[in-house]
């Protein structure tokens, strides 16, 4: 997984944790170093005081120099960490007592202010404090160098204990950082999630610009999204306008052609010409039908974007459609029967859309009905719905699913001999989806298909 993909949240958490870990380690070393320095300074002060005190007690006597090492001083020096103790006292150039080979300071101290240095000695490393003073032996001044060295086990123990605390603190800091960074990563991504939810909740035709409040950092993303949506909306409406225009432009000349063909049919005595003219008229009719379906479809798409909800009597609408299709049915010798009483079937919706849906249902039923059969329109209501059921005695669906048939320009597998655009059912399902109704196609056991359309009762 490269940096370009993967989880942003995981990356953010990881980065926060790395920062926390670095800070924790830094904290540990800082405290450790400070503790070590503090412990060293304290120990140095004690050691220096002890050395100075020993040097101060040096006295010149007639026999030479009197040195009085204080028991309690030495006792105390070892108290902190049971440290080992070494000392050396030089008078002039010779060591008078202590450890002859204790390392000397690089620079001889010049006063009773202690000089501190670390040096290896015997099997260990020691911290030495050295002071110097001058005493008068006889008549001549003699320089005296007093050195006391100690191991720093006590200092190491103190610094170690503090470092352990620091380590614990650092670890605690890190442990605390884990849930905090998870939390903060979560809260940072909340606006993104909310935006995604808001966009995801939109219906299939909702192409409005996104107005969801978002943090500043997301503004470019939202702007880009809105730009994209508006381009999409423009392209869609252009296409739809184009289709509607095209259909309209085709339909008008087609009716002229049809009229002319009918006139020619009437005037012609030649049987062969008449047959050709008839088939021409049928072709022109189908083309006109397709063109009006395209127009219907464009109209449905346009109007379902801007629904005009008014009260509609679906029963009345169905009867009107049946009446309009009367001549067509008669021509095909199909009897169109409306079942159900005259009670109104009230619903809310766009009357033009409802009419388009009903018209396509009935048109389909008639189109696929063989001659001398019935198309039956049944009106009913119940369960809070008003229902229209259109049944034919045609060839059925041959197992094709409703989802397939409802797709644009998709037609059943058994209709190649019938002219059609495949837009009829698409229009119906889109209208019903826009109005919040239900649509169901079913094959009858006796042959033929029933289309059930129901809309919420008002």
């Amino acid at each position: 997984m490269g940096l370009q993909s993967g989880s942003l949240r995981a990356r953010l958490v990881l980065q926060l944790l790395v920062v926390a870990a670095v800070l924790a380690v830094l904290l540990f070393f800082t405290v450790r170093y400070t503790a070590d320095r503090a412990a060293e300074a304290t120990q140095d002060a004690i050691l220096g005081a002890a050395t100075t005190s020993v040097a101060e007690q040096l006295r010149a006597t007639e026999e030479g120099v009197e040195i009085d090492l204080a028991y309690s001083t030495f006792s105390m020096l070892g108290a902190i960490g049971q440290d080992r103790l070494f000392y050396r006292i030089d008078i002039g150039n010779s060591t008078v007592t202590g450890y002859d080979d204790l390392p000397l300071p690089e620079q001889r101290p010049t006063s009773l202010a202690a000089e501190f240095y670390t040096a290896p000695y015997l099997d260990t490393k020691i911290r030495i404090s050295a002071v110097s003073r001058t005493i008068v032996v006889g008549t001549s001044p003699v320089p005296v160098l007093v050195m006391i060295g100690q191991t720093r086990q006590g200092q190491a123990a103190i610094a170690g204990a503090l470092a352990n605390r620091a380590a614990l603190l650092g670890f605690g800091f890190f442990v605390l950082a884990v849930p905090l960074s998870l939390l903060s990563a979560g809260s940072i991504f909340n606006p993104i999630n909310r935006l995604a939810e808001a966009v995801g909740r939109r219906g299939p035709r909702d192409l409005r610009a996104v107005r969801h409040p978002t943090p500043r950092e997301l503004a470019p993303l939202v702007a880009a999204l809105n730009g994209f949506v508006s381009r999409l909306r423009g392209a869609l409406s252009q296409t739809e306008t184009f289709i509607a225009e095209a259909a309209h432009h085709i339909r008008t000349p087609l009716s002229t052609v049809r009229t002319e063909a009918e006139i020619a049919l009437r005037q012609s005595d030649n049987e062969a010409t008449r047959i050709r003219l008839r088939s021409m008229i049928r072709g022109v009719e189908e083309s006109a039908r397709s063109a009006s379906q395209l127009l219907d479809h464009a109209m449905v798409l346009y109007r379902s974007d801007q629904l005009e909800m008014v009260e509609v009597d679906m029963g009345q609408a169905a009867r009107n459609v049946a009446r309009a299709f009367g001549p067509t049915a008669e021509l095909k010798e199909v009897s169109l029967i409306v079942l159900g009483d005259d009670r109104p079937l009230p619903t809310r919706g766009d009357p033009l859309l409802i009419e388009a849906a009903l018209r396509n249902l009935v048109d389909n039923a008639i189109k696929y009905s063989p001659e001398e059969t019935e198309v039956c329109i049944a009106l009913s209501q119940g369960n809070g719905m008003v229902k229209v059921r259109v049944c034919d005695q045609g060839r059925g669906l041959s197992g094709a699913s409703m989802e397939q048939l409802a797709q644009r320009f998709s037609r059943g597998g058994n209709v190649s001999d019938v002219v059609g655009s495949g837009l009829g059912l698409t229009i119906v399902t889109e209208v019903i989806a826009a109005l919040g109704g239900e649509f169901l196609l079913e094959e009858q056991a006796t042959g033929g298909t029933c289309a059930n359309m129901s809309l919420p009762q008002h």
Binding site: L69, Y71, F74, L77, A79, R84, L85, F86, T97, Q153
Partner: protein, 340 residues
């Protein structure tokens, strides 16, 4: 070239001649087993029961026990690179110096960890027995006198009866005895009365000894009336079964000595030395019992009677080992002892 070889041989012999002096050497256990070597200031007979118990638990080892004076033990370790697996001494100052100067190996075991902090120094030097340093008297010699309870009592007693005590009071000679030097310096550190006592003893021609045992023998033989600064383990052992001897713990203060042991860094079998140390420490079960005269170490210093002052294991002990300090102290002591 030849001369060098001879010189080297001579030097070798010279070192041999100068080698530390031992008082006793005994091998315990089966002779053909790996030998654990122990150098100690404790008399062999006193320590024998511990050795036998240890060997009973370790039948696959033998133990060579070398007894020497504390000065000799110190010399053996510091100057002569003698190889031992455990070094036991009553001279805390010398042991402390050896440990401070890096002659002791670190030992970490459950037993040593469990020791109360005041009875050990780092992980090098471990105390295994506490012994008060006491005054002993012969009842016969003290007839008609009240036994002293403090040093002041003792000084008064000696001053009041010079005839009875002349030449019949004994103490360690700090010039030759490491333990005697330690006791004297600790006394001097505790109280100024020590120097007065020394002067009184010097005037009474005090007898100076190397060892506790010989002083007690002197008391038993009626050569002595009082012996000052006797190691507790000897005193309490010898007073048993004697109706003449009496042990007195002076109430102003009684210095208590911690017998210490360490495993030397150059030990041949440090593991076995550490095991013997553990064995000795395991007897320290926190009760102040006086088995064999030595008090085992209590967990808390506060559990001791108030007049008992254990010598602390700390670098303060190094102070009196300083050559100038030592020379000054001994000069002072000798001046007090030899009076016209």
């Amino acid at each position: 070239m030849r001369q060098y070889v001879i010189a080297a041989a001579l030097m070798c012999c010279a070192t041999r001649v100068e080698a530390y002096e031992i008082e006793d050497e005994r091998l315990f256990g089966p002779p053909n087993m790996p030998v654990i070597s122990v150098l100690s200031t404790t008399d062999t007979d006193v320590f024998a029961p511990v050795i036998e118990a240890f060997l009973a638990a370790h039948p696959d080892h033998a133990l060579r026990y070398v007894a020497a004076s504390s000065q000799e033990v110190f010399r053996a370790m510091r100057d002569e690179d003698a190889q031992f697996d455990l070094v036991i001494s009553s001279a805390m100052d010398l042991q402390m110096k050896l440990a401070n100067d890096g002659f002791a190996a670190p030992i970490v075991s459950a037993q040593t960890q469990a020791l109360p902090p005041w009875t050990k120094w780092r992980d090098r030097l471990f105390g295994f027995a506490l012994e008060p340093v006491v005054l002993m008297a012969s009842k016969k010699a003290m007839q008609g006198l009240v036994l002293p309870r403090t040093r002041r009592d003792l000084i008064d007693l000696l001053r009041a009866n010079p005839d009875r005590f002349n030449g019949r009071i004994a103490t360690y000679d700090p010039n030759i005895s490491g333990a005697g030097y330690l006791f004297a310096t600790q006394d001097a550190r505790q109280t100024d009365a020590f120097w007065r006592l020394a002067e009184v003893m010097g005037r009474l021609n005090a007898q100076l000894y190397c060892c506790s045992g010989e002083m007690i023998t002197g008391l038993e033989n009626n050569e002595l009336a009082l012996a000052y600064n006797i190691v507790g383990s000897y005193a309490f052992t010898r007073v048993q079964g004697s109706d003449d001897l009496v042990v007195i713990e002076l109430e102003d203060f009684t210095v208590a000595l911690v017998r210490t042991a360490f495993v030397p860094r150059n030990a041949e079998r440090p593991q076995m030395g550490a095991e013997l140390l553990d064995f000795m420490l395991s007897k320290t079960d926190g009760q102040t019992t006086r088995s064999g005269g030595a008090a085992l170490l209590p967990r808390e210093q506060a559990a001791l009677p108030p007049h008992v002052r254990p010598i602390r294991l700390d670098p303060g002990l190094l102070v009196y080992l300083d050559r100038i300090k030592r020379a000054n102290f001994l000069a002072e002591w000798n001046a007090a002892m030899t009076q016209p």
